[in-house]
Assembly symmetry: C2
Homo-oligomer: 396 residues x 2
């Protein structure tokens, strides 16, 4: 009877793995347009104040707020318009008591003025505007450095870039951004029973349609990597040894599915010096890792759990990504028992503050993944959660 | 004084807009590998039972569970191995009382057997295995149709495809999937004050670095679309008319930033027959929509809010996407006052069940978007929320 001598506790295995990997040093500079979802390689400092000076936030009239404090609809205040400028121009005039300067959105505030009346709110007659209501000091003015200050860190290393992050970079003058090179992730799928194309006869005879590769490619893409698929390799010791060697050379990380247990044909784990083999996670216990290679299960659900519990964190470490998970609080709609000594990965459907555990079991049951949108983790020392317990759901 | 005669309530404007748009009919068939994040064009029905027959979920020995009920470590049950098959083969043998068949993961269950003993749990000696513990009926067996049944809808129209969805499609024999064509979204940015390249002199003179285009391109990509950028157009009536006409012809949707208010140079809204112009949202009130064209603000924060409150839902309608938002429940860390009559878009930082409102105001303040990871909405009839109130956060 061959089994794992010892199951490495989940957290211990994760630490071994993360300690073994280091952030990839390569940085690539990409146009902002191609940077969505990429991971920022270093802190970004603003080269300018933004806005670079006090400016109007609207089209309207720059004025002295104090001139308008007595303005009422039945007794408007009249101001003389002493200058009119268009967008991108600057007024040389100084706003003295009783005067105003017409300007556009983004125009530099003229000297003397401390507020802007929106154009739509002014009644204009020749050189005069009538103000019907008081304007507060600072109203409709965007102050210099109000958005970001020169020298300020505006984005931090590890940020996964979103549309608004790109806008901020652009607004202070950047057209490119330095991001981490995408880690190359070799994917090797092993198993004599696997076929790639639909074949009713073969399925009847016991073959299985291989689905791990398309899933892993998608997961690798979601978590910053570039997948490289090495195809389905038969359960042949030499073939597996050869492809693992090659994939190791050509990639930052290698994922091998199948061959992680101790069947007669489980070869993959023999060709890697493993830091751990067999951990307390459920499903997915027979996972091994060493030399940047993961030896994973053959079952899609186990592979999915192994990816989220281990591989995802490895990829985040390689690129230095922060905040790469969406973790939300939820109330369980029913109890979830868990085996002591196992770190359980429980699929749930999260909606409106509630997490409903997906009951379908079995590591071949891909539909259970499809019916879920997140997972909870139940550590080794817990027998599970009760209905109504508040848990953390990681969304996917 | 020119202003909006009436602000259309948020929900009314949204309904007008969604009623005006219809789902785009075109469907494209893409390889599974290219389908991540695409929107499923129709329900998908499984052409097969999966698994196609009862099969073993592990490498091991198929047996009759009842033969093992008396098995104890100190008094093992012995079974005779009458056949051995490898992956993808089928046994012709029938498992009679006292016998077992050695098989592999995925092997068809031989007649007579109703459970599988994992190989690692069996002590083998020649033709005999010793079973040390009882095996439950059904243990380690994946039953026919257990994952999905032939004819069953396995994925629904509108699903945004995830890695596990692709795996399910592959596991029942698909290599391609029909998804909606990506809507083409024309982006037109207007404003004399805008520059595309960093230029210190120009900035000092009142110019502004344009940042809406890169943000909108990113947002459009996040929500199923393909952005087409028409560049920065000066505040010239003819130029704006021409580019809007062209963009309308070439796209499913057009986003115009700038020119939505009533300044002298706000031309854009004059060239579109608007269904509404001016709504109760804050920020972003001066938004107009008609003829598949959005006339949006010039300010990045207002544009961002307008996108999430209106454009995102329009794009989802065009492709028929479901579940395109991550909505989570959260407790507010402090009170958020809101103006009656306005539908407020409040940026928050969501973490661990709590939502912290981002105080920075001003529609030019892009850093306020960067510091947030979601928003809450406060409808017109509410004066806001108190500290401790439970709200729904839409994550971004």
């Amino acid at each position: 009877m061959r089994e794992f001598k010892r199951l490495t506790p989940y957290r211990e295995a994760l630490r071994l793995l993360l300690d073994d990997l280091s952030e990839i040093p390569e940085v690539v500079e990409v146009p902002l347009d191609e940077a969505l979802g990429r991971v920022l390689a270093g802190d970004v400092v603003s080269p300018i104040d933004s806005p670079p000076f006090d400016r109007s936030a609207v089209d309207g009239y720059a004025l002295r707020a104090e001139d308008t404090f007595q303005a009422r609809e039945y007794s408007p205040v009249e101001l003389k318009v002493i200058d009119e400028i268009v967008a991108g121009e600057e007024s040389g005039a100084r706003v003295e008591p009783g005067t105003a300067v017409k300007l556009m959105t983004g125009s530099k505030m003229p000297e003397g003025a401390n507020a802007v009346l929106m154009q739509e709110m002014a009644e204009r007659e020749g050189e005069v505007i009538r103000v019907l209501r008081p304007v507060a000091p600072g109203q409709n003015v965007a102050f210099a450095g109000e958005d970001v200050k020169k020298g300020e860190v505006i984005l931090r290393k590890g940020q996964v870039l979103r549309p608004q992050d790109l806008a901020l970079l652009k607004s202070v003058g950047f057209k490119t951004v330095k991001v981490k090179r995408k880690p190359r992730v070799g994917i090797v799928v092993t198993g004599d029973e696997l076929i790639e194309d639909f074949d009713e006869e073969a399925l009847k005879a016991g073959k299985i349609l291989e689905s791990n590769s398309v899933m892993l490619k998608g997961l690798v893409r979601q978590y910053f990597g570039e997948p490289v698929f090495y195809g389905v390799v038969p359960d042949d010791e030499e073939a597996i040894r050869e492809v693992i060697e090659r994939a190791k050379k050509e990639n930052d990380l290698v994922l091998v599915t199948g061959g992680s247990a101790f069947g007669d044909k489980d070869f993959a784990h023999r060709f890697v010096k493993l830091l751990f083999h067999g951990t307390t996670i459920k499903p997915g216990r027979p996972i091994g890792y060493g030399e940047r290679v993961f030896i994973m299960s053959g079952y899609p659900v186990a592979v999915f759990a192994q990816f989220h519990l281990y591989v995802k964190h490895a990829l985040a470490k390689l690129v230095g990504a922060k905040n790469y998970e969406v973790r939300v609080r939820a109330t369980l709609t029913e109890r979830v028992p868990s085996q002591l000594g196992r770190h359980e990965f429980v699929k749930v459907w999260y909606e409106d503050g509630k997490a409903r555990p997906i009951k379908k079991k079995g590591s071949g049951i891909i539909s259970s993944l499809v019916e879920s949108n997140g997972y909870i983790e139940i550590p080794e020392d817990s027998e599970g959660y009760l209905e109504g317990d508040v848990v953390i759901v990681v969304l996917y």
